[in-house]
Structure formats: structure tokens, C-alpha cells
């Protein structure tokens, strides 16, 4: 299955593709390590629908959600789900208190399948029966379930080399002191071996991340044990914040955001006048998601096909290797360019981002946009001091309400960009907008079309709304207000439908799922008397009183004529329909002796389509009768 549909269908010199493709192409291997101890199950926080939800449910719920997102966005990543502090055990090493959750036809660490998602959605029902929960580390035993869990996770992640894959363990727990019940030498010993185990894993290129859950009144104390396990010191530790949520929804949101790893698109240098060059990382926070590329299959075997591309000379039909030269017809001549020359033309500036100056934000018009923006965030990884300069500029730009204009000299698509500073926005459910700058790709003069001038009015004055009309529009605007609108509150109905269908097909389900289109207008809301009144007033003030009648009368005439005709046909069909014994005709194969007009009586009576040739009509009738 090494066929990569993207590669097959990619137009070689389409820079657009390159733009949307993420550069960080390594795949990710992720083990969700979920603490299933009774403490996780018993600690609860309130949810919107008045039901208390346990920490364990929060963890499971967010994992389920991220699996679904992963199917859509990054289906190449591999995941494993592993519980520890369990009653039952199921793992390769046969370690106590560790249960690796899996479904048939799937390796422990594999890409998520439809079945996995489906079964995992139902895990809470079967959890108690199948897996069970108990405290793993208790005095008097030498069982160390945390150690076992790390070991099992590490063993799962043994697959694949650390060079081509990002390996991560995500640990969900609300126990800040796993060895709290232990004492003396045993505790020291257990802690030491566990830490060693974690360190070994990290040496192998596996990063361990902790998602600590805690209640507002009972803080998760990192410094008791986990700081050491994760190797956090000083500043990093202070940065680390436990997930605290009053409500289940907030906590789920925070968890969802942390599960995904930040993938930087690339590192660039930002050259500021005066010889300062700072280091920035770019991130693609907003990119359109498509329903994935098509893989062609052999319809007989359902096996994927390999696409072979070949080049032919269109004059002689000779088979060619990859053509070395490109040409453009100009003045009846073919002007040749080599690939090198073309990339030389595009190299109008040396890579990186070069600051050209600042402008007030009002200079950035709404139509100055071409593509999704890119987020930039400073990094001190290689050039110390970058962050400091960046923050200083960021604050000044926010304060002075200015944006920076810079030239981004990428090799394929050099472009003028606007850098707009965005302040951090935080709410109860965590960070809503990260602090940093957004790189907005600006159009050039020939990219902007003077459409407004296209229909310039012949009068020197175009019609303008009067004060009254504006007033009625204002009241309408105020009425139909979307409170708390957030930019990405709608799921893409086409995409949701597509994946729901795929999931149903993958699981061989007969019934096609129904997906909800959230993007339809809220008819109920619009029907509220206040809004209806505002709409009526607006209509009255702009269109006047007679407008509707004019329109209606026109519509009526048209519809009435058509509908009258349709009605007459239907009536006639019903009348004539009774004159035939259809079943008998069909059984004796005498349908074909009827005329098309006669056949249509049956079809219109049963509201079937009446188009097509006679044979088609007959077969349609037979199908309808169930024969």
C-alpha cells in the first residue's frame, strides 16, 4: 500500500500544492496511556447537562474525538490506546495492571480504523466488565503499574525508527503522587526504577507528555513526582499548567487542544532593518480540509492500482523520458526555459522574510487576501534574543495599531505579506487565540479586479440609501444578531457527510447515516416576531409597498399555468389508470403491447419519472411492482 495518491495526481509545477502540503512530513506514533484507577473514576466535575462526569470519561471522550479528527486530517498517524491501573491485564509482556485496548484486524499500534472508533465510542459500557479498575500501587505488593505502563508503551513504540516517526506517550492521570501509599526503601526503589524507565524511553526518542487533570480546589502538584519524570526544570515547570476546569466542556476543550502536537511548517529568518535577523517558526493554523485524494482500485479485486505516467511526443508519438525543457509560444516562436532558469526568475529575493516597513491597520483592506494566513511565533532555539525582539515589536504594533509589510521570498512563491499582530485571548476553556503574528498574503495590482467600476452608473449619482432606509436596516442588523459567534463553529457538512458515509461503508452498515447541516439559517429564530417585524419594515422602506404584489402577480401567473397543466395530467392519469389491470398485464408480459402514453398513466399515478424510452418505462414499472 505504498501508493501515495497525492504524488500521482500532483501537477509537478503547481506551487499551490506545495503550499498546502505540510513540510513536516514525518508521521506520528502516539500511545494514549490512560490512568484507570478508581480515583479517576470517582473524581467528577459538572457538565452542561447537569450530569457529573468523571475524569476518566473526560479523557476517554477527548481521545474518541481526536481519533475522529485524525481520520479526517492525518490518517497516516498510528495510535495505541492503553489503560493502566486495571484489574485485567492484556499486553505482550503480560504485565500486571496494564490493558492495551484493541480491535480485531489491527495491530496494537496502527492507524485508527472505523472499527476502533466505533468500539472505543462504546468503551464506557463494557469497561467495568472487560477491563475493570483498581489501584495499581498499593503497600505490600511489588507491583508498579506506572512502571509497567511505561514499559508496555515503550514496547508498543518499538516499531519504526525514531528518524522517520515522532513517538509520543500521552499520559492522562489525576494522581500527582502515585507512590503516596508507599514508604521507605520500597518507595525509593520504585520511584527510581520508574524514573529510569522514563529516561530510557526518552533516550530512545520517545517523548512523554503529561495531561494532568485536577479539580479547582485540589491542584495537581507537579513537583511531587512528575516534574522529575518529565525532566522539567525551573521555567518549564512554571509554564506547565494543570488542566483545571470548572466544567466538563472546558476541560474537554483544553484536552483536545493539547492532544495535537504543534507541527511547524518551517523555520524562517525575519530580517529587520539594521542587520537584525531573528528566528521564527511558521505554523499552518488554518488550512482547508478536503475529503482526501482518490485512490483508484481494481473493481474486481478491490486492490489499489498503480498509476504509471508516460510522456509522448505529440508530433511523432515517440516515448520520452522526463522532459528537460519547457517552452512558451511567443511571437510565433517557441521560447525555451530550463527548470533552473525558471527558478532563477522566481528567486527575486533571498529566502526568508524581510521587513519593509509598517502601516496603520486601516491600510489593510478586506479584499487584501489571497490564501489562508500563516501563523508565526518566535523561537530562541538557535538565535537567542529572537523572542525578546519579537515580543517588543508585537507589543508596539498592537499598541500603535499598525501592521508590518514584509517580503516573503520563498523559492516557489515569493510574495508580499502583511504581518498582523494578534494578542492572546484567553477564556475559561483555555487559549482561544494564541499570541503571535499572522502572515497575510497580499495581492499585487494585477490580482485585484476593478469590478466595482464595471457597472458604473451612467448617471453621475448612483442610487444611495436614504437616512430612513439606513435606519430600518440598522434595526434589522441589531435584531438578527449572532451572539457569541465563533469563526469555526460550523462543521463542514459536505466533509462530515463524506466521512460518515465512508465509515458506514467501511463497517458494512446498511443504513446511511444522517448528518446535520449546521450551516442552514436558523428558521425558527428568524420567525420570531421581533425579527419578522424588522424584516418587514426594512422591506417596506426599501422596496415600497407595491413591490411584492408586482412580483407575486408575475410569479402567480407563471406557477398557476404550469401547475394547472400538471394537475390536469395527474387527474387524467388517475382516471385512466383504473381502466387497466396492471398486475395481469405485467404477469403476462403484455406491458409492451401498450403505448407509451398508456404506460405513463401508471408512472404518473405512482409519481415515478416518466422520461426515457419504452423499454425503460416498462422496466421501471416492473421494478416498482417488485418484479
Amino acid at each position: 500500500m505504498d501508493i501515495d495518491p497525492d504524488e500521482v495526481f500532483r501537477d509537478d509545477d503547481d506551487p499551490e500544492n506545495e503550499f498546502y502540503q505540510e513540510r513536516d512530513a514525518t508521521k506520528e506514533m502516539l500511545v494514549y496511556l490512560v490512568d484507570a484507577s478508581p480515583k479517576m473514576l470517582s473524581t467528577t466535575c459538572p457538565s452542561d447537562d447537569q450530569k457529573d462526569v468523571s475524569h476518566f470519561e473526560i479523557a476517554v471522550c477527548s481521545i474518541a474525538q481526536s481519533l475522529k479528527t485524525q481520520i479526517i486530517n492525518r490518517s497516516y498517524d498510528e495510535v495505541a490506546i492503553c489503560f493502566f491501573n486495571t484489574r485485567e491485564k492484556k499486553n505482550l509482556q503480560d504485565l500486571n495492571g496494564v490493558y492495551v485496548f484493541n480491535v480485531p484486524e489491527r495491530e496494537d499500534l496502527d492507524r485508527p480504523t472505523a472499527r476502533l472508533i466505533k468500539e472505543f465510542d462504546r468503551i464506557e459500557e463494557s469497561f467495568d466488565k472487560q477491563i475493570g479498575s483498581k489501584y495499581g500501587i498499593l503497600p505490600g505488593t511489588r507491583d508498579n503499574s506506572l512502571y509497567n505502563a511505561l514499559w508496555a508503551a515503550q514496547a508498543i513504540l518499538r516499531k519504526g525508527s525514531a528518524k522517520t516517526a515522532d513517538k509520543r506517550i500521552l499520559l492522562f492521570t489525576n494522581e500527582d503522587d502515585p507512590f503516596g501509599n508507599m514508604k521507605g526503601v520500597t518507595k525509593m526503589d520504585m520511584m527510581r526504577t520508574t524514573l529510569q524507565r522514563a529516561k530510557d524511553a526518552q533516550d530512545l526518542g520517545i517523548s512523554i507528555e503529561l495531561l494532568p487533570l485536577s479539580r479547582p480546589d485540589d491542584d495537581f502538584n507537579m513537583s511531587i513526582f512528575y516534574a522529575e519524570l518529565l525532566g522539567l526544570e525551573g521555567n518549564d515547570l512554571a509554564e506547565f499548567k494543570a488542566l483545571v476546569g470548572e466544567r466538563f466542556e472546558d476541560m474537554k476543550d483544553q484536552l483536545r487542544k493539547r492532544i495535537f502536537r504543534k507541527r511547524k511548517v518551517r523555520r524562517i529568518n525575519f530580517i529587520i532593518a539594521g542587520g537584525i535577523s531573528i528566528e521564527l517558526n511558521t505554523y499552518a493554523l488554518v488550512r482547508p480540509t478536503n475529503p482526501g485524494a482518490i485512490t483508484w482500485l481494481d473493481s474486481v479485486t478491490n486492490l489499489p492500482l498503480k498509476a504509471d505516467r508516460s510522456f509522448f511526443c505529440s508530433d511523432t508519438g515517440a516515448l520520452l523520458q522526463e522532459p528537460p525543457k519547457l517552452f512558451q509560444t511567443y511571437k510565433n516562436e517557441n521560447i525555451m526555459f530550463s527548470a533552473n532558469e525558471l527558478s532563477e526568475i522566481k528567486r527575486v529575493s533571498t529566502g526568508h522574510l524581510r521587513l519593509l516597513g509598517f502601516k496603520p491597520l486601516s491600510c489593510l483592506k478586506d479584499y487584501h487576501n489571497l490564501r489562508p494566513s500563516t501563523f508565526v511565533f518566535p523561537s530562541d532555539e538557535e538565535v537567542i534574543g529572537s523572542t525578546c525582539i519579537f515580543i517588543a515589536l508585537h507589543r508596539s504594533m498592537l499598541r500603535l495599531k499598525r501592521f508590518a509589510v514584509a517580503f516573503y521570498g520563498s523559492s516557489t512563491h515569493p510574495q508580499l505579506v502583511a504581518l498582523v499582530a494578534q494578542d492572546e485571548i484567553v477564556s475559561a476553556s483555555g487559549q482561544i487565540e494564541p499570541p503571535g503574528m499572522h502572515m497575510i498574503y497580499l495581492p499585487y495590482s494585477d490580482d485585484i479586479r476593478p469590478v466595482e467600476e464595471l457597472h458604473t452608473d451612467t448617471n453621475p449619482m448612483a442610487p444611495r440609501a436614504t437616512e430612513d432606509q439606513i435606519k430600518s436596516a440598522s434595526s434589522l442588523v441589531k435584531r438578527v444578531d449572532l451572539k457569541n459567534f465563533s469563526v469555526c463553529q460550523f462543521a463542514n457538512p459536505a466533509l462530515q457527510r463524506h466521512y460518515a458515509v465512508l465509515q458506514a461503508l467501511a463497517l458494512d452498515e446498511d443504513e446511511m447515516p444522517d448528518t446535520k447541516d449546521e450551516t442552514l439559517p436558523d428558521e425558527e429564530g428568524l420567525a420570531r416576531p421581533g425579527i419578522v417585524k424588522a424584516l418587514e419594515e426594512f422591506k417596506l422602506s426599501v422596496y415600497g409597498e407595491n413591490f411584492e404584489q408586482e412580483n407575486d402577480s408575475m410569479d402567480n401567473e407563471k406557477t398557476s399555468e404550469a401547475s394547472k397543466k400538471r394537475k390536469a395530467i395527474a387527474e387524467n392519469a388517475t382516471k385512466e389508470y383504473a381502466n387497466y389491470d396492471w398486475l395481469d398485464l405485467a404477469d403476462n408480459g403484455k406491458l409492451k403491447e401498450l403505448t407509451v402514453v398508456e404506460l405513463k398513466y401508471y408512472l404518473s399515478r405512482h409519481n415515478l419519472p416518466v422520461t426515457g424510452k419504452k423499454e425503460a418505462l416498462i422496466s421501471r414499472i416492473l421494478t416498482h411492482m417488485g418484479k
Binding site: 508530433d315 511571437k331 516597513g357 499585487y444 485585484i448 440609501a465 422596496y543
Partner: protein
């Protein structure tokens, strides 16, 4: 049973057109060479003309087999005649024979339409089987005959007394006329085309010409092209004050023509220049006046010569009147197209509008402009005015500028013309729209506020990226002898099964599969069609929200514009009311759009009001696509306030940054906003088209470097850097950057990852420590002499070069030369103002570089030079502008005390004497 009739049709019509024109002592017979049947072309190279005798030639169209039979019969009869009479048949005799032969077969006629032409025994020509010395036959005859009648005004043969039938045209005129009428016949008649064969009979014998007609491929195709063609007249100011900017104008105009050559090669372009000493236009001949306006080229189809002509625009020496030039341009368009081509006629005026237009004979200037604008409207012309406003502070009559501004704004209010002001050369390059795309709506229909209230709108694209042209792959397999080789390459995909790589799976056996995790789920097109998401076409309002809710970074794609249905006053009012209300309340509308029926997805986006500033343009909305939940990745980033104190700027650093952001300003008040997207050209495409032109002349030409003017887009403006050097330096001092010592290994990795060649440009990590200087970089590029277009900038760039000390001397020297040039070559002082600018720059540079003596000596020398050459006007000009020597106060190395510095100005003579 109805009786079936025998249906026997022995005839076909193979088309073709023949024309003959008889002159006093010559005869021209012409026919095209296409042979077709129905919609098929049988051959493109079939001669319809045959020589029957020494002095008679026949061209025949119609049914080729009958034509051939007729020709054979005539040839046989002519042979018999020769045997019997021992001489060639004369032309009238041949005509008689032809007539008899055709009549003899009248009940089963030869399906052939013939024209016979020749010279009689006295050498007088006759085109027979017709009247008036002209005759045409065949499929295009109905098109050609009326045209020729009209052109030749040939008398009716029914007139009494009979008039002479031969045409008064000369032979060459007649041939031209034949070519013209065939050119138009080929456009309209599909049976006529390919090549035109012309046979000319005269006293000296018989001659044959073959000419390619325009329609070698398909008549329908060329008609389609012609319908969309644009007629454009470039009206360019080349007067003295424009000289500095002409190189840029040459660039942008030839770029425009180049793009037309590639994308709209049927477009027609004419060029008018004004401000020239010479006068050459039709109007000056016809009505007089219109001086200093020169038609450089008539409105003709674009070609390579036009580019060459635009590369060398004449430098005019007079003051031109832009209104005259506009009228000349309009006259050219009207004469060329008449009332046709509505909406596709455009004028493009580039001027600095510094000279007044002439007073009209009656009425005011405004009335005159109004009349011209009204004419423009009735003829469906558009006009783009690009007004250059550079250096307007020096020696410019403000009154004139104001008046001209007013007059030009009358144009833009009264007709569909647009006015753009530009201040810099860079924005001049961007101001002329070089791409000509006819806009297409992506949606026409209702914008539903609710199911009851709807507004009729049209949606267009507002921005759309002009892509780098996609070049075709070149195949060198075609033999060099094949002149019609396309050299193109076809790409073919074959799908092979993985188990058996040799087995190709046919298309009907393939099925689409979509990836779902590790599985690939097969789904047939029919299935997919049945279950996929099918929204209804329409644009629906979801609601309004605060503008601050929609952050700029969420705009996903290129931008659309919603305009009310043109001509629908109610809709325009509704849009206007909503837009103004939204603007007032600072709200935006969230809408859901399905542009077409059958579109498989919906788009949710935001409408922002666009309240029009121009009176004759209605209000509209901009539409931006917003992301769906799946499109957003919510990564967490650390808060800046949570970062360690070392990474946070302190008070002093923050102040330096504030100052820097404040001062490094691209949009200072009172000046043009630099790098406005509307006025910024695409540097990559400009470079591409320039190298295309170079390569068309010399296929080995190297890729030219990026144009100097365009460097302002890719690099910070040197002038701006220079003005703010103090602020920048302070900013630089406030912060410390150093390489991370812990990360030796990874930085090496990064360096290695860089494409080869980028390291030499001094970027990358190593450069940080050495404080790589962006100013140095820019000036390093190519400024090695002081050029014509931007001497001041070149000088500044040169003098700030730090790679070698000799650049300063070199810069000063070449600036001096430049100033001398300017003063010496000035015409009535038109370059003085520029020279003064250069002098001021030189003075500034000399103070900065501690070279006061250089300047003082030069200034004295200049005064002396002026006196000698009788150019005292310049000395006075300098005086009036208070250009003085560099005193001790300004530069310690100067030997001139403060009071003496001014002395040169007050009593220039003695001081200058002493100094030099």
C-alpha cells in the same frame, strides 16, 4: 405502401470564391485554394485557376468534377481551334466558347461558376461574364460583390450612354483590393479560406502570387477571438518634465503589449505621444490645431514591432496638451471601429499633468472637458488616467496642477474613466493594469435575508491571483524539417494492478476508493452521487455579528464582491442601506453560499460593507470565506507574559521598538502610501516577461536581474532606511542577539539544509553574530553608477556602500558629472529642478562623508561654468533656492566660515572667482 422515389443527386458544391477585376491594361483573377464539402475541408491547396489560352485565364468554383470536365472540354476545343486556325484563341472568342458550352448543357448543366479574364488583341482587359469590369463568383461572391461595387463605384451596364466598364484603379491597387475583399470573405464564409491565389495578366505577360489568408484553421475560431478583442490607445506624455519617468513607462507599456501578445493576440493597440516638437496626427490635417501630438502607431493588431517602438519612446521637448492628445486618441478609435466594439475601447493616459491645457475658442475648459467626456460615453469608451505626482514641491505651478486635477476629475465623474495618482516609479509600474480579463459572475440570484426578503445580487471575484504562466513541456523528437510541429508533449496515465505490473486495468474496471484510516473504501460514482451532500443553490443570511468577532487571519481564500443587480434600483438601494447600516454599527454579516446547483459543498463566509467613495459607483459588499471547524488547528502557544523575564523586553527596549514601529513608516501622512497592493506590480512576473522578450531576440540570453525599481518591493527602501538610521541604530543597540551555543549540531544541520547559493548571500545563522547589514546588502546589488531615472537614490546607495572606500569618491564624481549633464542639456530650464535635487543630495552626502571641499569646489566650478556657457539662469535658480557652500559649522573640515558660505549666493562673482 407509399412509393419511394428514386433520389439521385449527382451534384456536390465544393465551395470557393473567384474574383476578377479588369483594369485599363491589366486583368487580375483571384481565387482561394480551399476545397470543401459540407463542414469538411477536402484540401487546403487546390488551385481553381487555369490558363486556357495565352491571354485568357479562367477561375471556377462549384462542383470540382464538373469544373474539371468543363476545363477538359474547353481545352479540347481550344486544341481543335489551334489546329484549324494556327493561332491561339482570343479572349472574346474564348468567352463565346465558354458561353456556348455552358448553354449547350443547360438541361444537365455543369455545376461550375466561372469567371474568365484576359486581354483582348489590343491589350485591353476584359473580365467577362459580368459587368463593370469586376466579377466574382462562388460561395463568397455575395459578400464580395457589393463590397467591390461600393469600392469601385462601377457604373451599371444598363446606363445609357454606356460607360466604360474598366476600373480606374492601378494594378497594385487592384491587387490590394482583391486581398482585402478576400480577407473579409474568409472571415465570414467557411468555404473560403486557406490561401489566396492571384493571377495577374498584363502587357508584360502573366504572373502568379500566392498569399496566406488569415483563416488557415477555422473561421469560427477567429470570429470568436475577434469579438472579444480590445481596442486600446496609449496616450503618453513625453514632455520634458516626464523624461525621468519614461524608462518606467516604456517598461510598463511593453509589458502590457507582451501580455497581450500571449493572451489576447487579437487585441489592437495604438500609441499617441504628446509633448513632442513634431506634430503628426489626422486631426491637425483635417481641422488644424492639435500641435505637439504625434501618432506613433495607428490602432493595429499587437506585434513585436510595437514592443520595440515602446522601448524607445521619443523624448519630447515641447509642452503637450493632454486634452488634445485624448481627442486624437478618441478620433483614432472612432475612425477604426465606428460604433462597433462597444465597451472594448479604452484609452490610457499617462501624464504628470503639469502643463495647462489650451483655452478653448468658446466656453470654459470645463465645458470642453464635459463635451469630450460625453463623447466618450456615447462611443462606449473607457479611460484610465495615471497621474504622476512626484517631487511636486519644486518649481511647480500649484494653480495649474489644481486646475488639471479638477479637469481630470470631471472625466472620472462624467464618464467611465478612472484616475490614479502615483508618486513613485514602483507604483507607476503597478498602476497600469496589464492584464485584461473579462469578469464573469460566479453567482446571480437572490441574497436571502429571510425566506420573504430577498435582494438580487451578482457576485464577482474581487481578487484572483495572476499565476505564473504554465509552460508546456518541450519535445525535441520532431524532425527539424517539420515546420508545423507543435513540439508538445502528451501525458498519459496507465493504471496497473499491483500483483501483475504488466496488466493494465481498463477505465471501466476501475473504481474510486477513499482512504479511511488504513482502509481504502471503494465507492462507485453512482453510489457517491446518491449519498453525497447536495445543497440547494442560494445565498442565505445566517445573521450579523460584531466586526471584531471575525479576525483577519481567518479569511481563507481570494475575495469575492457582491454587487446589487445592475440597473435594479431597488436592489442597489437595499444593498446600500444594509452596507451603510453595517458600517455605522461596525457589524458584519455571516452568510452561507452555494453558488451553483449541483455544487457539492457549501461556503460559509463573512460580508463586510464597502461603502463607495465615488458618486457614480453603487455600494457593495466584500465576501471572504471563513474556515469550518475541521480547517482550524488549535495549537497551544505559551503566553508571552508567562515567558521567563529574559525573553521579555524591558522598558527601554520596548521604547526603542515603539519608536521603530512608529518611524519606519510606509504610509506617512501627506505622502503616498508605499507598496499599496493596488499599485504594486508582481516582480516575478515582470521579470519573467522581460526575460521572455530578451530570449525571443536571443535564445541564449541570460535571465536579467530584478529591475531596480522593483527592488523596492523585495527589499526595504534605502531612502527610508537612511532617514530613520538613528531610530534603527537605537533599536539595534537595545537588543542583543546571539547564537545558541548549545545547539552547534542543529545549526549546522540547518545550514546544510539550505539550498546551495543562499549562504553566500550572508543569511543564515552565522550572519547574525556579524550583524549582517541589510543596507549594505541592498546597495551592494548593482548601483555602480548614477543612472538617469533616480540619480539621487543611486547616489545615496553608492555613497553608503561600505565594501570599499573608493565608492565615496566614485559616487561624488559621477554625481557631479550627472549634474553637469543636467544643467548643460536643459531646455529652458526644464531639468534645473532635478539638478537642484541632485545638488542637494550631493551636499548632504558630502557633509555626511566629511568631504566638504569636494562640494565647495564643485559648486564654485558650477557657477563659473554657468557664466561661461551663458546659463546664468541656473545660478539664479540656485540662489533662489538658497543652495550654499558647506560651512565650518556643518563640517569641521570645511575652510569656509559660516558668513562666507552665503556670500557665494549674495555676490556670486568675486567669491566664485577666488575659489576657482
Amino acid at each position: 405502401m407509399t412509393k419511394q422515389q428514386a433520389n439521385w443527386s449527382p451534384y456536390d458544391n465544393n465551395g470557393g470564391t473567384c474574383v476578377a477585376i479588369a483594369g485599363a491594361d491589366y486583368c487580375v483573377i483571384a481565387a482561394d485554394t480551399r476545397m470543401s464539402t459540407g463542414y469538411n475541408i477536402l484540401t487546403r491547396d487546390y488551385s481553381k485557376i487555369i490558363q486556357l489560352a495565352d491571354k485568357s485565364v479562367m477561375a471556377s468554383s462549384g462542383f470540382q468534377a464538373d469544373v474539371r470536365a468543363l476545363q477538359k472540354v474547353l481545352a479540347a476545343r481550344h486544341l481543335i481551334y489551334q489546329h484549324q486556325h494556327n493561332k491561339q484563341m482570343s479572349c472574346p472568342a474564348m468567352a463565346q466558347l465558354l458561353s456556348n458550352t455552358l448553354y449547350y448543357k443547360r438541361f444537365f448543366p455543369y455545376y461550375a461558376f466561372n469567371v474568365l479574364g484576359g486581354l483582348d488583341n489590343e491589350g485591353k482587359a476584359s473580365a467577362l461574364l459580368g459587368w463593370g469590369g469586376i466579377q466574382s463568383q462562388g460561395s463568397g461572391a455575395t459578400l464580395i460583390t457589393p463590397f467591390l461595387d461600393n469600392q469601385l463605384k462601377s457604373p451599371s451596364p444598363l446606363l445609357l450612354p454606356a460607360k466604360d466598364a474598366v476600373t480606374p484603379l492601378s494594378e497594385s491597387e487592384a491587387i490590394d483590393l482583391v486581398k482585402t475583399c478576400f480577407a473579409s470573405a474568409t472571415e465570414r464564409d467557411i468555404y473560403t479560406g486557406d490561401k489566396l491565389e492571384i493571377v495577374i495578366l498584363n502587357a508584360s505577360g502573366i504572373r502568379r502570387e500566392l498569399e496566406k489568408t488569415s483563416t488557415t484553421i477555422s473561421v469560427i475560431f477567429s470570429e470568436e477571438m475577434a469579438r472579444n478583442k480590445e481596442g486600446l490607445v496609449l496616450v503618453l506624455d513625453v514632455g520634458p518634465s516626464m523624461h525621468a519617468l519614461l524608462p518606467e513607462i516604456e517598461k510598463v507599456c511593453s509589458m502590457l503589449v507582451q501580455k497581450k501578445l500571449i493572451y489576447n493576440k487579437y487585441d489592437e493597440v495604438g500609441v499617441v505621444v504628446f509633448g513632442t516638437a513634431d506634430t503628426k496626427n489626422d486631426l491637425t490635417v483635417e481641422v488644424g490645431g492639435y500641435e505637439n501630438v504625434m501618432v506613433l502607431r495607428d490602432v493595429k493588431v499587437v506585434d513585436g514591432d510595437l514592443i520595440d517602438a515602446l522601448h524607445q519612446l521619443p523624448r519630447g521637448s515641447a509642452h503637450g496638451d493632454f486634452l488634445d492628445a485624448i481627442v486624437v486618441g478618441m478620433d483614432m478609435l472612432i475612425k477604426k471601429y465606428g460604433p462597433t466594439n462597444k465597451g472594448k475601447k479604452r484609452l490610457c493616459l499617462i501624464t504628470n499633468a503639469l502643463t495647462p491645457i489650451k483655452d478653448p475658442f468658446e466656453g470654459t475648459k470645463e465645458d470642453q472637458v464635459n463635451t469630450v467626456a460625453a463623447q466618450m460615453m456615447t462611443h462606449g469608451m473607457k479611460m484610465d488616467c495615471i497621474v504622476i505626482r512626484a517631487n511636486q514641491d519644486l518649481g511647480v505651478n500649484k494653480e495649474i496642477v489644481k486646475e488639471n486635477d479638477f479637469l481630470l476629475s470631471v472625466f472620472s465623474n462624467r464618464s467611465s474613466s478612472k484616475k490614479v495618482y502615483v508618486e513613485t516609479a514602483t507604483s507607476l509600474l503597478g498602476a497600469l493594469r496589464t492584464r485584461n480579463i473579462s469578469p464573469v459572475t460566479i453567482y446571480r440570484g437572490d441574497f436571502e435575508l429571510s425566506s420573504k426578503v430577498k435582494i438580487k445580487v451578482w457576485v464577482y471575484k474581487k481578487t484572483s491571483e495572476e499565476k505564473f504562466p504554465s509552460l508546456k513541456k518541450y519535445s525535441d523528437k520532431a524532425p527539424p524539417t517539420d515546420k508545423f510541429a507543435t513540439h508538445e508533449i502528451k501525458v498519459d496515465y496507465e493504471y496497473k494492478s499491483i500483483e501483475d505490473p504488466n496488466r493494465v486495468v481498463p477505465p471501466e474496471q476501475r473504481i474510486k476508493g477513499y482512504r479511511y484510516g488504513p482502509q481504502v473504501v471503494p465507492i462507485s460514482s453512482a453510489e457517491l452521487e446518491a449519498v453525497k451532500f447536495k445543497p440547494e443553490k442560494g445565498v442565505k443570511l445566517l445573521g450579523f455579528t460584531d466586526a471584531s468577532n471575525i479576525m483577519r487571519q481567518y479569511y481563507m481564500r481570494d475575495v469575492n464582491i457582491f454587487i446589487a443587480e445592475p440597473g435594479n434600483t431597488k436592489a442597489i438601494l437595499a444593498v446600500s442601506a444594509l452596507a451603510r447600516a453595517m458600517k455605522e454599527l461596525n457589524k458584519v454579516a455571516i452568510i452561507r453560499c452555494v453558488w451553483r446547483q449541483g455544487q457539492a459543498n457549501v461556503v460559509v463566509g463573512v460580508l463586510t460593507p464597502n461603502v463607495s467613495e465615488k458618486d457614480n459607483i453603487p455600494d457593495s459588499f466584500y465576501f471572504n470565506v471563513l474556515p469550518f471547524a475541521e480547517d482550524v488547528r488549535e495549537f497551544q502557544f505559551p503566553s508571552f507574559s508567562n515567558l521567563p523575564p529574559l525573553m521579555q523586553p524591558n522598558e527601554q527596549q520596548q521604547q526603542a521598538a515603539d519608536k521603530f514601529v512608529q518611524m519606519f513608516d510606509l504610509a506617512p501622512s501627506g505622502k503616498e502610501e508605499a507598496l499599496q497592493p493596488n499599485l504594486t506590480p508582481n516582480p516575478v512576473l515582470e521579470r519573467y516577461y522581460r526575460s521572455l522578450e530578451l530570449k525571443s531576440k536571443d535564445s541564449d540570453a541570460a535571465i536579467p536581474p530584478l529591475d531596480e525599481t522593483l527592488r523596492k518591493i523585495t527589499e526595504p527602501d534605502a531612502e527610508l532606511l537612511y532617514q530613520n538610521r538613528a531610530v534603527i541604530e537605537e533599536f539595534h543597540r537595545s537588543f542583543e542577539l546571539k547564537e545558541n551555543p548549545k545547539l552547534k549540531k542543529s545549526s549546522r544541520r540547518v545550514l546544510k539544509e539550505k539550498p546551495s547559493g543562499s549562504s553566500e548571500e550572508g543569511e543564515g545563522i552565522s550572519a547574525v553574530g556579524q550583524a549582517m547589514d541589510a543596507i549594505e546588502y541592498t546597495s551592494n546589488v548593482k548601483v555602480e553608477k548614477v543612472g538617469d531615472s533616480n540619480p539621487v537614490q543611486d547616489f545615496e546607495a553608492m555613497i553608503s556602500r561600505r565594501d570599499s572606500p573608493q565608492w565615496i569618491t566614485k559616487a561624488i564624481q559621477s554625481m557631479k558629472d550627472k549634474i553637469f549633464d543636467l544643467v548643460e542639456n536643459s531646455f529652458e530650464g526644464d531639468t534645473y529642478e532635478k539638478a537642484l535635487e541632485c545638488l542637494a543630495a550631493l551636499r548632504k552626502g558630502c557633509i555626511l562623508e566629511q568631504e566638504p571641499k569636494q562640494f565647495n569646489d564643485f559648486l564654485r566650478h558650477l557657477h563659473k561654468f554657468c557664466r561661461e556657457k551663458n546659463l546664468s539662469g541656473f545660478s539664479e535658480y540656485l540662489m533662489s533656492c538658497e543652495m550654499m557652500l558647506i560651512s565650518k559649522n556643518e563640517a569641521p573640515e570645511s575652510d569656509i566660515p559660516e558668513h562666507e558660505a552665503r556670500l557665494l549666493i549674495v555676490k556670486k562673482e568675486p567669491k566664485a572667482e577666488q575659489g576657482s
